[in-house]
Structures are given as C-alpha cells and as structure tokens.
C-alpha cells in the first residue's frame, strides 16, 4: 500500500437517481461529509441528500447589479451634466427618466457577468485537470450514470468500510482514485 500513490477518493457508480440519492443519504447517516454526486443533469433534492449549503451567488449578483446601476448613473450624469454639459432642446441638463434605459442596461450587464463568472469562480473552474477524469468509467457521469464520490480527506473516511457501504447501497462498481 505504501508504495502506491496517495488515495484521493473512492467512487461508486450507480444506475439511477433514486438509488444514488438513497446511497448518499445512507453515507450522510454514517457521518461522512465530504461526499458528492456527479450526474449528467441536476437532480432535484440532491442538495438535502449530500448537504449542499445555499450558494452566496445571488448576493454577489445583487452587488454587481447595484454597482452596474451606479456606474450607468454616474457615467451618464458626469459625462453629460458635468464634464461636457449638453443642452438639448431646452431640456434639463440632467433628468433621471431620460437616463433610465442606459442605467437599466448596465445593471443587467454587470449582473449577468457576475452570475456567470461568479458561478464559474465559486465552482473552482476552469479546472483543466481532475484526477476523477482519468477513470474511463467516470466519463459516463456526463452521459447516463451517477457517481457517488467520497473524498479521502473526510475525517470519518475508512477505505474498506466506504467500499462496503457503496456496494451495499447498490453501486454497480467501486473504484479508487489515486494521485499520480
């Protein structure tokens, strides 16, 4: 065992949503916390089964949206009312209604960028190398299979017991993921 590379994780391959969710619930009951399900599509109810805390992404997007609104407002106001005052048809130098469209667009633009890049950043992506992807069988996680992954750094992790648990909960196969 000692000459082999360090164990990173164990994963069990499951056939369907119901068994993999039930397996995750069993693992949680056993006290395992560093578990994850890899699936070809988002599974409803998975957050509760593996214990995912709600993401802070909406707050990031709110912050970005407010920043966008302020940016649009300041841009229109400073450029057209302060730095280079435009007098058009006797209208006021600055009035909010005429500037709403631009403020709205910058709000949406900033929020959308925050939603996308915030999601990518919080997910730890882009990640161009992942030891899981070295396993040919794991590639079906983006096709038709469900993979329950237990990380070795979980304090309650015991390779033998975890392998047995995965088999007992209906895993079709269990594989070890090692660092190289």
């Amino acid at each position: 065992m000692s000459d082999r590379p360090r164990l990173h994780a164990l994963f069990g391959e499951y056939h369907d949503v119901t068994t993999v969710l039930e397996a995750a619930r069993t693992l949680r009951r056993e006290g395992l916390r560093r578990i994850d399900i890899h699936s070809p599509f988002p599974i409803h109810g998975v957050e509760k089964a593996i214990g995912v805390r709600p993401t802070i992404l909406p707050w990031i997007v709110l912050g970005a949206g407010l920043t966008g609104a302020l940016t649009g407002f300041l841009l229109a106001w400073w450029t057209n009312a302060v730095d280079y005052p435009f007098l058009i048809s006797g209208k006021p130098i600055f009035s909010l209604p005429a500037n709403i469209p631009v403020i709205f667009e910058t709000t949406v633009l900033f929020s959308a960028f925050a939603a996308v890049f915030g999601m990518i950043f919080l997910n730890g992506l882009p990640r161009l190398h992942n030891p899981l992807l070295r396993h040919g069988s794991f590639l079906r996680a983006t096709d038709d299979r469900f993979f329950l992954v237990i990380e070795a750094r979980d304090p309650r992790f015991d390779p033998a017991a975890a392998t047995r648990l995965l088999h007992e909960t209906g895993a079709l196969a269990v594989e070890e993921v090692r660092y190289r």
Binding site: P42, A76, V102, N123, L125, D143
Partner: protein, 495 residues
C-alpha cells in the same frame, strides 16, 4: 426524407426514423411525453452527440458552400461599400434609413424568440423548451451579429464606429445619453453579450459530454477547454442552476427592453407614422412573432435532417405554432390600433401617412405585409396545419417575409412622404442593398451550420432532466423531494 444521406448511428437512427408520434393530446391528469420513443439518458446523448461526432454529411457541405458563398458576397460588397461610400446604396433624402435599418430591426427581432424560449419559458417552467432552446439561443446570437452589422455600416464611416461608445477622447466630447440612438448602442451590445453568456453557460455541461466522448486529440482538447473542467458535481450543479435562473430573470426584462429601445429610435422622433406610444409593445410582439417563425423555419428541416424527431417532437412545433398564432393576433391588432389612432387623433399628417401606406406608391408592400402577418397565420387555428411540419413551414416562411416587409413599411413609407410635399421622395433599393440583405442570410446560415456541425444542438442535460426517470420517485414533479415510499416506480422505464 433521404435519411440515407444523413446516416445516423445504429440504434439512434431507428428511433429518429420511426413514424411521427402524436404527443399533442391534452388530457387533464396525464402529461404528454416531451420526448417520444422511450428515450433513456444514453440514447439522448447518442442522438445529439452523434451529430457532432459523425463524418460530415454531404448535404452539410452543399448547404455550407451555398451559405458561405453568400457570406463571401457580403464581404465583397462591404469592401465595395467601404471603398466607395454609402452612395452605392439607394438611401437618399428623405429616406436616409432605408435598407440598413430595416435589416437591423428585422434581425434583432428574430433574435428575440431565442431569448424568449430560453428565459421567459424557463421562468414559466415550460419544460417543452428544453428540446429547442439551444439552437434557438444560437439563432439569437447569429441574428444579433447580423443585426449589429447594419447600423455599424450605416454610420457612413464604419472605421469611426467606436465613436458610439463613451470613451475619453482628444475631442473632449461624450455621446448624448438622452438619445435613443445611444440607448440602442447600450441595449444591443448588452443583449449580444448577455445572450452569448446565456448560450455558453447552458452549453458547458453538454460540452463536457462531448469532451468525455471525444475520440480524436483535437476534439478532446477543444471541447476540454470549452467545458472548463465540468464534471457534473452536484455542488457545481447547484450554483449552475442558480446562475441559470438569475440569467433567465435578467434576460427577460432585457429582451423586452431591447426591442422597446429599438422602437424608441422611431417613437422618439417627430415623424408621423413613427411618433406613437404603441411602438414598444408592438415591436416586442412583432419581434417574438418573427423570431418564432424563424425558429420553426430552422427546426422543421433540422429535426428531419438530424434525426431529432423524438426530441423536437410535434408537440414542440405545435406549441410554437400556438405562440405564432397568438403573436400574429397581437400584431394584427396593433396594425388596427395604429389606423384607429391616426383617425382619432385628428392629426392631418398622421392621417395622411396611414392613408399613404395602403394606397400610396408602396401599397404592394403594405398589402403583402397584411397578407403574410395577419391573414396567413390564421391557418394555424386548424390542428391539421399546426401539426403538419411542411404546412407550418409554409406559414413560417410567409411570416419571415411579412416581418421584413413590416419594417420596410414602417421605415420607408413614413420617411418618404412627411410634412412638406416639396421634400417628398421615393426610395429604390440598388443591387448592393439587395445583395447585402441576401449576404446577411449567408452570415447567419454559415454560423448556424458551423454550430450544427460542431456544438451540441440540443441541451442534452436539460432534456435528460425532463425524462420521467430523472425524478426521485416523482415522475413529472417539478421539484421532487424524494420520499422513500414512492421511489423506484419509474426507474425501470428505460431498460
């Protein structure tokens, strides 16, 4: 159809070629299947990925050769325009906007159906959108590319088009933020960027599928980079779904704002025929109308050629036809209200413009517009037409032409005869005008064909998520929170 030309892999082709399955029934208590022919996860993956993985079919080369020739023609005409000047167009005084702005409004409107399908139907939990949203979004992006081209070349000196953006410059000047033309710059560029983000984010899980199935090194590296290391982790999916929901919630008011702002370009002007408050809702409804016609125009041949008839089912097409019919009624109503308002306003110039449209020199354009946009779509009241792909394709082609004519009527008939008869004039397009319009279709279809060849044309992850077996003991439930007593009921459907 000549299915042999488009050899689909074994197992997939059989299902794709099977006779059309009618899933258009509406019975309370039973859900019509969104995906027919008893698909499972693997067969959805297989059917969609095979389009990007197989050998390029000959028909694709033929289509690509045709559309890229049109694109080449556009490039040549652009070169001619840049070296010679806007005099190569038929634009004149008083019709200074003419074809470039007609084409701009036409293309930007087409894009709106893609965002409607991806964002608004998502917020309304219309699960049938999953079969069509990916290529409708792709259509949006390529349509916005075509749309963006025309105002840029219409500015006259396109090499100075960056003056449209607020940037500190040696002239010490800033753009005018109270002008709808500047709002347009912000609205259309925001729309282009947000649509591209929405499209790409939705595609990440499917790009990962293509990466994991890649046979060649080049495909593996290319899809690998685009998939940014997606592994389908549930923690990632959680944030992904949140991000997607927020993007949908942001894109919904955005898409309404974009065509409203486009309509402000007209409505804020003082010109009779343009200066009306009905324009924003009228333009948005027209955009959805024209856009759905284009989605049908693309979907009907695509599902036949690509063997996707079990994923883009007759029910999808029928639903789109219902939207087409609804928006046709809204557009027809708006045409009527414009005439009523002109009469009721007691405003001579306004009344003149609305008499000039059906009876003036551009009367064929007006009456063709009415025929294509208001009369023909009423065929869709009949279920036989709504569920017949070739009949609906005919209706959709009429609407495509009708919506282009509508913008022509709005732009040209209003401009060519305004207040003073001494400044009246006529607009005649030159061969460059017509060539550039045709060339913009080349631009659109070239990118669309590249997309169909190399990227996942159907949102596989989303389609899998609406299969009955995707729910933990709650088939069809929008958010099943697994209760153990109900589980296992549906899991053997696919085996």
């Amino acid at each position: 159809m000549t299915e042999s030309t488009f050899a689909t892999p074994a197992g997939v082709g059989i299902r794709g070629d099977s006779p059309e399955i009618d899933n258009t029934h509406d019975e309370p208590g039973s859900r019509a299947p969104l995906v027919t022919a008893h698909q499972d996860y693997a067969s959805v993956t297989g059917a969609v990925c095979s389009l990007a993985e197989r050998k390029t079919p000959r028909a694709w080369y033929v289509a690509f050769a045709f559309s890229s020739s049109l694109l080449l023609m556009l490039v040549v005409l652009l070169g001619y325009l840049f070296t010679t000047g806007v005099g190569v167009w038929g634009n004149n005084q008083p019709v200074a906007w003419a074809f470039p702005i007609v084409n701009f409004v036409f293309w930007v409107g087409i894009g709106h159906a893609g965002t409607l399908i991806s964002a608004i139907l998502f917020l309304f939990r219309q699960n049938w959108r999953t079969g069509i949203n990916r290529f409708a979004e792709a259509m949006t992006i390529f349509a916005v590319m075509c749309a963006g081209l025309f105002p840029l070349i219409h500015v006259g000196r396109p090499w100075l088009a960056y003056w449209l953006f607020p940037y500190p410059n040696q002239m010490g000047m800033w753009p005018q933020f109270r002008s709808p033309l500047l709002w347009d710059v912000f609205a259309v560029s925001t729309y282009a960027m947000v649509s591209a983000l929405f499209w790409y984010v939705g595609m990440i899980p499917d790009l990962a599928t293509l990466r994991d199935r890649a046979k060649s090194k080049i495909a593996f590296i290319a899809y690998g980079i685009l998939a940014i290391g997606w592994t389908g982790s549930s923690r990632h999916w959680h944030r992904f779904e949140r991000a997607y929901l927020m993007l949908a919630a942001l894109a919904t008011p955005l898409v309404l704002s974009v065509h409203s702002v486009v309509s402000f370009d007209f409505a804020v002007a003082q010109l009779p025929g343009w200066h009306t408050t009905i324009f924003p809702p009228y333009f948005v409804a027209g955009a959805v109308f024209g856009g759905f016609a284009m989605v049908i125009t693309l979907a009907v041949p695509a599902r036949q050629l690509f063997g996707l008839r079990h994923i883009i089912t007759i029910r999808h097409l029928e639903n789109m036809n219902k939207i087409l019919l609804t928006t046709s009624c809204i557009v027809g109503y708006a045409y009527g209200v414009e005439f009523f308002t002109a009469w009721y306003s007691g405003h001579h110039y306004e009344q003149f413009v609305f008499m000039n449209r059906p009876l003036g020199p551009y009367w064929p354009f007006f009456w063709c517009m009415v025929l294509f946009n208001v009369v023909v779509p009423h065929a869709l009241w009949f279920k036989k037409i709504r569920t017949n792909p070739w009949a609906m394709l005919g209706v959709a082609m009429c609407v495509n032409m009708g919506m282009w004519l509508e913008r022509f009527v709005i732009v040209v008939t209003s401009l060519h005869r305004d207040f003073l008869p001494s400044s009246w004039g006529m607009f005649k397009p030159t061969w460059v005008d017509i060539g550039m319009l045709a060339g913009s279709f080349g631009l659109f279809f070239t990118f669309f064909l590249l997309f169909c060849r190399f990227l996942p044309v159907v949102a596989m992850a989303e389609v899998k998520a609406v299969l009955p077996q995707a729910h933990d003991g709650h088939p069809g439930a929008p958010s099943g929170h697994g209760k153990s007593e109900a589980k296992g009921k549906e899991k053997e459907v696919d085996s």
